[in-house]
Symmetry: C3
Subunit: 428 residues, 3 copies
């Protein structure tokens, strides 16, 4: 326990670069706890515990009313790891010192948070207390990138829309506005995508990223230009294109993205395994689930075709973790990246991290990213991870392998920070 | 260790309602240890260890001879968790105080058990020592339900025969006798099923239940009434109907069951993942295994279509547990239910329970059910579970999350008992 | 900790029979550490960490140069379990006593190893220090088996070539040379295979073995002799036979192997789940990965058809372990065998072993095999396993089940050694 604590203390001092978040750089911090409890983790769990969606998402209710309503149901998750994040950030960032937060005392916390969050340097305070230096964003492809500090908030080109939603006229219109190219042919499309990469590259982009469904299996051969051109034509003309045409275009665009990552020396973050809108009746951002029956082998053609592109990979379910470990063990360009979404809970983090530390080269493990929508969540999520990392290092590296504390701290620091630097910033 | 022990002691005092068993309410307890060792867990393991089925199932052998023969092989499982149940019940219920039970001393235990089990209040004794108040049954659809105490032994309508075996003339004959309806049309069939629900509802039924194979993927749309009617016609006429017709009827009936559960406000227990008769040469009830490649996504249409029906769900293999956790995290009507059959061993219970406690609302975790065929097994199976629950609460809730002992005990009590009450008994 | 240590000490004294290796009996030990670091675990990990294949596999470089080059990259895996094997064998076999082995001191170790390995009794020394009495080999079907001690180095007929590579003319030529039968018809083929079994049986063979891809699903019915004969004809004539013909012959040959194992009372080791050459750009033996989506149910027809053949089964990924546990729990002829390749790391061994000890009859768990290519690796790999076995026995058998230390040691000894004797040597 003392050993674990010593390791934790050392790791907790490491200045962080958070390699994946959904922070809005124009409004990175929260203004009251409604912003925090509006995080889908809380709304979807309150809903799952019995709160009607209509109560949560009623238009026009005040922040305070929304929080009040949520607290009628949040006691159902007061034991959960998701709730522990909220309690920890309240303690560390607001100075809350009660035993628990519930229906009886949330108003005090609300007042306390208003006072704290209203301070002009709140963003700085949060970053300082969280030991965060830089944070990767999730930028729409048409983000102008010209109105925030791209050193602190590192651009990352998110490409789900390009790959999966090009059939929507609005996506093509956004693309036309952003690039000046109105897509009619594959040549247009390739040119438009190239413009996006150039624009992002001019604005300090450090990664391209995408989330992918379980059925996705990209191959160059699967899509020749002729059939892709025919599919694109139908897709542009038709308001309800076939699933086959959508997939043809998805594979074609995806392969182009990999080519541009290769040309531009950009890592390509793959977040694999999510099915969207499995529960259409769910709350905002609380509708996605998955089918865990997919395999890393679906990406073997990609890994073979682009040996120079680094692929930091996140998997949605822990049953995919051993495949990730073993593909990272064999393929030089496969990197294990963080603990994503439904696997971002202590039971799965511990199991998955142990397996990674056992067998993956130490320069290919990116320990963690916050996935946060608001700055305040970076601190408690990383703390959770650092506690588990300290435990696993104590158990595996010191007790099992007989290495020194200093060795364990060095390894932990590389996993927590060093590999983010070497993988995303030493690219040229 | 002291903390775990304290939690265990508190949890061990909670009066239980066992929400799933195969107890025969006309003969709930055993008459000698042959009834206990005849449990398929022991016969199939003895067989697996090398005992010929013919030795185990030879017709006409006495109880004592059967036990004698089994003990020639049971030393092969003396380290197993299944054996630990038998040893613990012998200690707690018979007062056996030896170190181990084997070829050398089983006769003493046999005599001891005869004496104990012959006492007129044996059933009461077992229930009292096990802290069990009520026990759910697994009732055939044509069970008259009129000759036992339905308060103590809670009816549960088991529907495997209706969904999967309607092609057998005997099933249709049983249905006709039970309902007075001879099934020729879908209308008849719906009416017959409705009669069963009414009959069960009049007799304090608290759940509808079914076990399902890995390939099952129910959808309303998949089966229109016209093709179902055609399939039913062939099925009623034909002695060897096609697999396609069987599946059409299975999906049609299953969807009707969900509708009746909705109408009658009855939870629908789904036990998902078993393939029957994978090893036809196995002993009685020791022939079923599985293919773990299925996904909760096969049930998403069902969960979306019946938002008011509660679905307590058990999965056969631990690799399905994270999907269960995550579907219960998102869908209000998905509830994690117990640790079923091949996952009812400490390694899997611990892993699966930790993941559930991390992330599922606390009102949606039904901790455990005994699945027992005889009352005597409820005690040792629940004890195994309570020890693991105490460990996980100590580790996760107290040490990791920093909550109090009282909080952990309250949470454990809700998981062990409270949720059974709120899910099965607060339905109206 | 003391309990675990006591158990480890007892288990570490057990004389071993290693039931699976790739040892070359004509050159079982190494001549310098280049032989050891040339093991694919090190070359593929150095490559994965960034070392170009061309640097590793450049023809004509000296042993010393190869080792020097590897040490420029091996610090990337100095935390890994694979590296811990090399450090432990250097300590135990060479008497190396430094803290770590790296760029700075490898030359000293190289000199030390040369001196040690040059001793005429090096093979004996290694065996003695490793407590190994006998070691199973992986023999090509055309191995003459007449120039080594088959008592110490136990023949095992490896059959991948016969099942999967009969389409290659070289395989058929090797078969013709080994058996005198030039295969034109199924009858020829069966006769040739029979000759191989007879030859191996005359030379103390103790197992037949094969590694299998995830898609393999053997059935007798799937291949009638007529279509197999037609496929064989095309395969013998054609230089590029169809995948369908290859599979037809693979299933036909595989089923014959099972028949011969039955006739000859030979266990049939199945190592299930590997896809070959997923990464063709990888180093030698570092190109294979897998698709974890397969099920033991693919082998249910086989287990049912050959009740007298013992099938020691290894699975490549931990997600298959529960299926293995449960099929071994039910089928008398299914035996859980070791921790294979990508699952041979502490996290997976611990999890998989716990589940096996919970629920499989104790006479059906073969604890471990080294899979080693050189004798020196047997010691550290078995040590890793014995440490975990001691931990699991302490936790599960002594603390959880309350059994004695002596009981745990007896169980551990059976898992480590006893079952190898009873399964492979009591076959007649």
């Amino acid at each position: 326990m003392t050993l674990t604590h010593t390791l934790f203390e050392a790791l907790d001092r490491v200045p962080l670069v958070d390699p994946h978040s959904h922070i809005d750089p124009r409004s990175p911090a929260s203004t009251n706890i409604s912003d925090l409890l509006g995080y889908h983790y809380y709304t979807e769990l309150a809903h799952s515990a019995g709160m009607p969606r209509e109560r949560i998402e009623e238009p026009g209710i005040s922040s305070e009313e929304k929080v009040a309503r949520l607290f009628d149901h949040l006691h159902h998750i007061d034991h959960s790891v998701q709730w522990s994040w909220f309690v920890e950030l309240s303690r560390e960032l607001f100075g809350f010192d009660g035993d628990c937060i519930d229906r009886g005392n949330w108003k005090d916390l609300y007042e306390l948070s208003l006072k704290k969050m209203g301070q002009p340097d709140w963003e700085e305070q949060v970053l300082r207390k969280s030991h965060v230096e830089r944070i990767f964003l999730t930028n729409d492809f048409d983000d102008p990138l010209d109105d925030f500090d791209t050193h602190r908030y590192v651009p990352c080109l998110r490409t789900d829309d390009l790959v999966f939603h090009l059939a929507q006229a609005t996506t093509r219109e956004r693309l036309a506005r952003a690039t000046g190219v109105s897509v009619g042919t594959l040549k247009d499309l390739r040119s438009a995508i190239g413009s996006l990469f150039t624009h992002f590259k001019q604005n300090q982009v450090r990664a391209c990223a995408i989330s992918l469904p379980p059925w996705f299996a990209p191959r160059a051969m699967a899509v020749d230009d002729e059939s892709a051109q025919a599919a694109l034509k139908r897709l542009v003309l038709n308001e309800d294109p076939s699933q086959a045409d959508r997939e043809t275009i998805a594979y074609w665009v995806f392969w182009r993205l990999a080519e541009f990552c290769d040309d531009m020396k950009l890592p390509f973050d793959l977040m694999i395994g999510v099915n969207r809108k499995v529960y259409p009746g769910g709350v905002y951002q609380g509708q996605d689930l998955y089918d865990s029956r997919w395999s890393m082998i679906q990406y073997s053609a990609l890994f073979n075709a682009f040996p120079r592109v680094k692929f930091p990979i996140s998997v949605l379910a822990s049953v995919s973790n051993q495949e990730l470990v073993d593909y990272a063990w064999i393929f030089p360009n496969v990197i294990a990246n963080g603990h994503w979404w439904y696997s971002n809970t202590p039971t799965f983090i511990r199991h998955d991290l142990q397996a990674r530390i056992d067998a993956i080269p130490r320069n290919k493990i990116i320990g963690y990213y916050s996935d946060a929508y608001k700055l305040e969540f970076i601190l408690p999520k990383y703390r959770m991870y650092k506690r588990i990392l300290a435990q696993v290092l104590a158990e595996t590296i010191v007790k099992q392998n007989g290495r020194s504390e200093a060795f364990a701290i060095d390894l932990g620091t590389q996993i927590l920070r060093g590999n983010v630097d070497s993988i995303f910033f030493d690219q040229e």
